[in-house]
Symmetry: C2
Subunit: 112 residues, 2 copies
């Protein structure tokens, strides 16, 4: 089985998280499960990678956090939710452009 190495996906962890936050605010555990589902378990983001991405992106102004005691139905434990900012949206857009370029570049070196 081929596995994705961290050096390859490194530049896109933040982008994945932001793409999920584009739809609605969410929190760590939920985002982690979504990434697993969306990629059909081809990629599982490590907890430490995820939470350190939150810290970094909040510092960079790409996301904002707020604490919610319970979910809408009054279930679950306290969570830290994150919401994407305007800067986050812009960053996401620029990453999408960068991806097209990266794909072009890398594929010149990949056997077809």
């Amino acid at each position: 089985m081929v596995e994705i190495s961290s050096d390859v996906i490194r530049g896109y962890n933040d982008t994945m998280i932001l793409s999920i936050l584009l739809k609605e605010p969410s929190y760590g555990y939920e985002i982690s499960k979504q990434i697993k589902t969306i990629t059909e378990e081809k990629y599982i983001m490590k907890e430490t990678t995820l939470y350190s991405a939150f810290t970094r992106m909040e510092k960079n102004g790409f996301i904002e956090s707020f604490v919610a005691e319970k979910d809408m139905e009054g279930n679950g434990k306290k969570r830290t939710y994150y919401r994407i900012t305007e800067e986050g949206r812009n960053y996401y857009e620029s990453k999408c452009e960068e991806w097209e370029l990266t794909k072009d570049v890398v594929e010149k070196f990949i056997r077809s």
Copy 2:
């Protein structure tokens, strides 16, 4: 202008170098110029990145070095040439497979 960040291309610097060495042995300065040409200057590998990749890959057994005083025409200065090994070829092949998977995964998070 969109620029490729190091975190994105990180996992593919070694692959690019190996793909050039698949054709014939080469050396730093020449490989660097080839990458620039092949990518139409969309990606320029930094010297330190390139030379540290050589050290790492030689240690990993993906490439072997030999010194040539001059080129075929008797021009130029002393160079350290690198030749890809069987392990290097295998590594290259596995990276190509990994790339297909990575592309699939990343594109699930990129706006189309």
